[in-house]
Subunit: 475 residues, 4 copies
């Protein structure tokens, strides 16, 4: 995906969650820390860890902050987070409107003591629920959906026999996309929305259970993959093991996993709901080769997310795969952007063409998406300047045409090039010799039997969505 300057359309957010519970009583904060590292690609704005212990004084300790995991935590703060039950979160970076108060996990005191909650996703009825809660005396200190969810759990807990029951009852009220990790004094609870829009899986290492947005975080801490949490499932992990409540599950045919996880969000070494991301991207690349064959000399991927699909295109087409770009891994979040008037462009600082690879060649360039088109145009210009004779662009997703209400931060329509231009117009604008977008019905091949959501391409939302975004009065 182009590294576009993020323009938020509302409360959208992509995030990662990670929970750990060591039944032997060891501190889990280091485990959560390394787990969050593996999920850092899901959010770079802020992060946090909250821990408690299940045996001693049972206090909750937490640390949250703006920045990357290695910026927020140091040796001292990490080791002060004593406790064998913990949850961590990484939050998506939005331009400007970042707010320290919104960092997760959210730690609350409620009728049954303390509870920490982290979630990934976006509620579609958050605004209504906020209003409803406010009309019964609720106060809100953040703009995150976790606070709405926490309120519902707290209120349902007054009636439900246990926290799992409260989570279930809360799930009956909240609509939208979510993967939740909740820690309460002696339990770690995981839940996914009934459509399964957001991923969540279970792992185990020795006597420590973990919950993670993606399986790559299990590998990072050397945990074994146990299984995915099912869409609509609530799992409760205690010293007695894992128990499951499937009563919120819906007809599997109606499930709607976010297809964009496979195209772009997830790490290529993750497997979500049984589908390996690397494999899915290879399939996408092959599909592009079938749909848009071209006579060319070399297939190249735009780092990092276009690299795998480029290999798929290469395999299918028989055109060799090459490494055309060097990506500068030192360009961090705090990089000073070149000014308009400066010849150095952000693209050139981050990405350089290797002229020896592309000179005199007809290139197939594979990327995951086109948002505004400017980055893509810049890269094509660099390739041609380096001597590429033709540049054929293949995009491993269909054109973005519809807003996402489930947490994917897509620019508003006016900024989406595909919204107001034909493919041929876009081709001309970016200076490509040909341009092919993934065909809608080929998405199916990427994920096999899984039911998925492709609403951002088709407008077919799996559930009712709100008419328009409502912004809150905080800044």
């Amino acid at each position: 995906m182009e590294n576009f300057e993020k323009v938020t359309t509302g409360l959208g957010e992509e995030c990662g969650v990670f929970g750990a519970y060591d039944m032997d009583g060891g501190d889990v904060a280091p485990t959560v820390y390394y787990g969050l590292f593996a999920l850092q690609h899901r959010g770079q704005e802020s992060c946090g860890i909250a821990v408690t212990d299940t045996y001693g004084e049972r206090k909750v300790r937490s640390k949250k902050g703006l920045g990357l995991v290695n910026e927020v935590f140091d040796e001292e703060s990490l080791h002060s987070l004593h406790g064998n039950l913990g949850v961590g979160h990484v939050r998506y970076s939005t331009a400007g409107g970042s707010r320290a108060e919104n960092a997760m996990p959210l730690v609350i005191n409620y009728v049954k003591g303390v509870l920490a909650i982290a979630h990934n996703g976006n509620l579609t009825n958050a605004v209504e629920l906020r209003h409803e809660l406010e009309h019964t005396g609720a106060i809100f200190q953040t703009t995150i959906d976790s606070e709405v969810i926490a309120y519902h759990i707290a209120r349902e807990r007054l009636k439900a026999p246990n926290v799992e029951g409260a989570v279930k009852n809360a799930m009956k009220k909240i609509k939208g996309a979510y993967a939740l990790v909740v820690i309460s004094p002696r339990k770690m609870i995981g839940a996914r929305d009934p459509f399964g829009l957001k991923p969540l899986c279970i792992g185990k290492r020795d006597n420590t259970y973990v919950l993670a947005s993606e399986s790559c975080a299990l590998a990072a801490i050397d945990a074994e993959f146990v299984r995915d949490v099912e869409p609509g499932e609530i799992v409760s992990i205690t010293k007695d093991g894992i128990s499951s409540d499937m009563s919120m599950a819906i007809d599997p045919a109606k499930q709607a996993r976010c297809i964009f996880e496979y195209i772009y969000f997830a790490r290529m070494d993750s497997t979500l709901d049984g589908v390996n991301v690397y494999h899915a991207r290879m399939t996408a690349g092959r599909a592009l080769a079938e749909s848009y064959p071209v006579d060319a000399d070399l297939v190249v991927g735009v780092p990092d997310s276009g690299l795998v699909a480029a290999r798929g295109y290469s395999e299918q087409s028989g055109i060799p795969n090459g490494m055309a770009f060097h990506k500068n891994s030192y360009v961090g979040r705090t990089f000073i952007k070149p000014r308009q008037s400066e010849r150095e462009s952000s693209v050139r600082i981050k990405l350089n063409v290797i002229p020896e690879v592309v000179r005199g060649k007809r290139i197939v360039m594979v990327d995951d998406s086109i948002v505004r088109g400017t980055t893509c145009a810049n890269i094509i210009r660099m390739l041609k300047k380096a001597g590429a004779t033709e540049v054929h662009v293949r995009i491993s997703s269909p054109p973005f045409l519809y807003p996402c209400y489930f947490g994917t931060d897509v620019p508003s329509n006016e900024q989406l090039i595909a919204h107001s231009h034909t493919t041929e117009q876009i081709r001309e604008m970016i200076g490509a010799d040909s341009l092919g977008y993934m065909e809608i019905d080929k998405l199916r091949d990427m994920v096999g039997d899984l039911s998925y959501c492709d609403a951002c391409f088709t407008g077919n939302y799996p559930m009712e969505v709100p008419g328009k975004d409502v912004s809150l009065a905080f800044e």
Copy 2:
């Protein structure tokens, strides 16, 4: 007061609040910033400012953080706080248990939009109220009483016709000590508890109204003193001016202003409820001279709070007043404390005796209080080493004997030297030649007709107090 290592006894806190409302629409953040500077002595742990505008988009912008006012705010952050209605807060430093989440003002979204609240004081029924609220589904994200107050205002607002009414109804439920500043979209509200335990006053500069814990903050921004907010009074400041609701006021004879504000907390250039602090301390010094005359050569005050009372003692006794100490003003919050084994003591780093002043003299040394006795003993040792032949200690407050439930952070009984020792024993322990504590009934002279609270000396609490502290499960 000795700069004792703070040992919190519960939720105790001393704080300062400052609100500003510019009817002409100018930004008030700089005014709040300078106002908080003048109140910094009331709290050095954390501070914050929240502002909104009463004309444009009416968003609330806030910045809070751990540290002093000049550490938390820089030019950039201050000038990003656009808005003509704002409230700020400085919070007291407690050892260890500081928690960024507890910084004020608390900014909330509730049924009627946004509200920011800052308070100084301590509720005596906070734990009960929290439990009550939790049993109706409330969630708590901080351990500060502001959150309890905010909940009550939010819930009462569902029934009350306006926010002032909601504040009043909330005041019917909350017990204890508080001075409140609340900003809601177009109003700035100030309130004091019916006993008037905590101070609050109103000032005006051009078309800007301000509310401040102490009048010294008015002088700092060149505002005129308008009047004090009365105990139990709710003032509402809008573009139509100041309106007042006195329906929560009680019999003036039952009012109970904190006498310790006059002895130690408040700045000597403030006037609280008509009583000038400088004047009150002079009176205390004179009273000490009457109660404990002594044949001596020089009266010296321990900086900073003992300086004025020393002048009073001098005036009354006719013994000259001298400047015996140099206080190092560069010893800040982050000073590395000397280790046990080091010859340098914290006292010596902060305070040095001027030998030329004390050599060969019989000294009357005036300080505001004795907590553990160690600092006092060290100072006496320094005076004698510098050649003082006698050191007579006069303390401008009676011995601390009872805990304060209203926000004054007094160490627990075991650490209070007066709790387990007679005055004669203390005199011997600190190495003084004589020791006199302010007599209880002389406190009256300091404040004239005002009703005041002296429970920390007498145990006569103006209202029912809780049996014991309950700590919350956060850390």
Copy 3:
């Protein structure tokens, strides 16, 4: 002295030095740290500590940085500075042109190993010496005179039998004002320029010898005062004790101690060359009372430096002394200055009048100097607004008329109000009812028999001074 915005006139600097040598082998960094705290008033721009050990591997470890002592050092950095021989420095704050490279001590490697040097003062022939050195191949990395001195010591060391000899030979070449502390592998050397312009004294605690700019630093670490280093003396402290070389000393009648140390720079609890600063300021106040008697009700000093002289005026005149101002000790270096358009002034943020003290009174206000006059005018305005009926200003130094070439940072002539206005004109400009400056010949009373330099008032420089300042090409 008015807290004027510093406008440097060249290389001027006021600084503090502190050295420590523990013959028993203990680490001295904490001692140096606390010593520098006591000298912080001599310089707030930067500070540093360099240590070595005299037994083990004899490496030099150092840490320097921009900021106050408690900002530059933390527990970890302080305790990593192992070594029983050390030297520290605090450097004066200049607006803007601060340069991290100029922080001291300067640590160098030269023909005989390592040497660390810290100095207070200003060479008058630094520019010539730099040019001379450059013409024999020297390179300069800083703009501080220490580097010039270090070069001379290094070069002289090639010929001299020991480092003391090299220091002596260097002193034959360098002109101007300096107090030096040098540590070389097994020696701590202290030296003062032959005129004794800058102070330096020797202290001892157990088996640790210390050198310090002022005696107050000895008290801070509980060391005994041994004696002052004499003007022109070189002391060498080794495990064999103190040895002294007086061969650079000049006729005591020609010595020229900086009188401004007594008026303003030094801490009032210091004694320099046998003259106690508190005592000197009292004398100055008394002299002002003799020279400029007035019918008034109260004598008040402007904190901090005017406080003692005010007591002297009071004692001599019989007019009571009062405390008219509260100084806000939280206004640190990083305070955001009010903008032109804001009603809050820097003076009012830092200093508040206590109206109860001054109302209806005829005031004698004592301060140490007037630079531009704006601060003084603001304070007088505040006093009158608070009800003072008259304000008679008494200044405990004569008017500044000549530049200082020895390290006192006086604004250039155009900015000095006394340079272009008569006393009567100044009186009118600042709004005082009368104005009296210390008479030149009364300065003598402050310091008894000591020879002193009063060139900034008289233009009588003790040595040849350069025609004009030359700035270096660094920034």
Copy 4:
């Protein structure tokens, strides 16, 4: 190269230099900043920029610090560096012994004014030269060779007609490896040691000339490659263009470019002395395939430096190339290392295997070097755990056997696994099924006709080298 914990063997350093001179007078600091970004892989310990202007006041402004380019510079500091002639430096990270004073560029004042110098490389006679200089009165404030070079330039400048001549005469004295960029008031000078051990090239954009360690930095700022600076050449860039002095050049057959630049240091999109790094690595991979063929299913490279050679092996052998690893690009310099006892290993945090790619496959794994062997062993274990049936390791460099005296930071002999083990022993220790190191004589193929240095593999040093390292007395 394994990301080994760096153990410095002396003064070794790998670094990057970048100079820019805008003849039109525009500020060059942003250009230098972006240039350093592109060279960041050459050094992550510290960085700095010094600029001057060639028209106005001609002051030198500089900023240096510990950390990455985007950590040391912010918008404000970058834009305060006014000037159209500048030089920047990135310095290599060593464990522990980092020293702020050693950051470059070194800015000095000398007989002809100001000069800033940055270099990459290591002098072999630095210790002797330091001693020599000290014996003529030099003082050293850093431990970097730049200071030695600067002294020689300064001293030679006393005799030479211009700075180029001084650089040339200095080059007659200094021995070892260096690429220099010097800025003096109106000139930018570049020079390489006669052997050409370190690279340096010239670029141009509009009217701005640049000098850079690698050509990738030219591409990053959209400058055209002009040419390489030749071994032994001194180029002087002024407003009159580029002039060259080749009088220090030696017989091209004796030139000795560092072969490790091609194997590991340089970015794959750079071209050094006419040899493209990508191309050289492809050649290395092909050579490995010829030398060590194996029956396998997939060739994979270890990111980042093994990726290209793996493609070469694949092309030559016909075995498909695959992407087996995900590298976590968020693991920065300040990452908290897992403790011994923790199951998470540093390798696993940084690198994850994509099981789908390797499962059931016989793998050829290509990396650039083996240092201690532990990282390699961990990666092989991860591959096998993920289902690889065989892992054949191919290393694109010969075994390290000899220390480098020219700036490459190779661990000491005892830590080099190849020093004390046969290839078969190493194979067994790392758990590989086969192991092949690049053959010494195949290195020639990588760089064509160029003369190169392979002393770290062969011990054939191009010049005399010192017997042992001498450490300086700073820390």
